[in-house]
Symmetry: C2
Subunit: 133 residues, 2 copies
Amino acid sequence: MEFSPSECISARIGILQRKINTIYRTYLSPLNISESQSSILLVINKSTEIGQSEIASILNLERSSLSRNMVRLEKNGWIEKNASYHPIWSLSNNGRKFMKTLLPAWENAMKEVDGIIGNKGWESFGTFEKTMS
Amino acid sequence: MEFSPSECISARIGILQRKINTIYRTYLSPLNISESQSSILLVINKSTEIGQSEIASILNLERSSLSRNMVRLEKNGWIEKNASYHPIWSLSNNGRKFMKTLLPAWENAMKEVDGIIGNKGWESFGTFEKTMS
DNA sequence: AATTTAATGTTGTATATACAACACGAAGCT
DNA sequence: AGCTTCGTGTTGTATATACAACATTAAATT
């Protein structure tokens, strides 16, 4: 037996993500936005205009998963598309306004994580991430 | 601005988990079991007998989330409990049999991840994990 | 230009997850 | 003993995710 079950990388990374997302939710839920939706907004905000498949590629999300996220974000009035099929997405006016409250909340979540993991955490995570890319 | 949005730890760890789970699924789905359910079976298998709240604590799962996972695992016939409330769980005969096919499949998933991340990946992940515990 | 093929988006179905609210049971307290 | 409190388990509701199947558009081939 080469590996011990307690080493299970999938279980371990799942535990870590649940811990991190719990922290994020304390900052994001007052704004009525989830971590997943926040991630997508950050991607759109960075690119100004971006195709749906490119968002899926960046976040490694299955097409159908992203499709449903986009419906939710659009329903919340934060994003808009230029066509019904193969849409190019951008933030709506409302969405740009919303980013002004989202970004500070997101920064606070990042700061709390930073206070826990420290430089050592950032560095080791970055090293691990590179081995997966 | 202290952090750049592209550094978002929650988004990044989500991407990594989706990548890893995709690998796991190629090995586990032929056995008709999900990664989450597999993780729980590994925990029960290790402890022989274990309370539900302890499983939740080990995997950092919300009570209600675990509750539904247990229903699914029980429905699949892999686990059994000694009481209807505050149950102590253990593998069923069927479950013990199933572990003989699950463990090799799980090992293959681990080996594929190992081939990607290598020693550097394991070490950096372990370092990161410690900063979160 | 018409047809075929590939890429992309959505819908059906199932699992996974969390929070809130509720239910139950075990200790403690009086 | 009766009541209260706390820990624990389940159910209601919403979001998140993936795969399969289908729909639609774009691209390529003839």
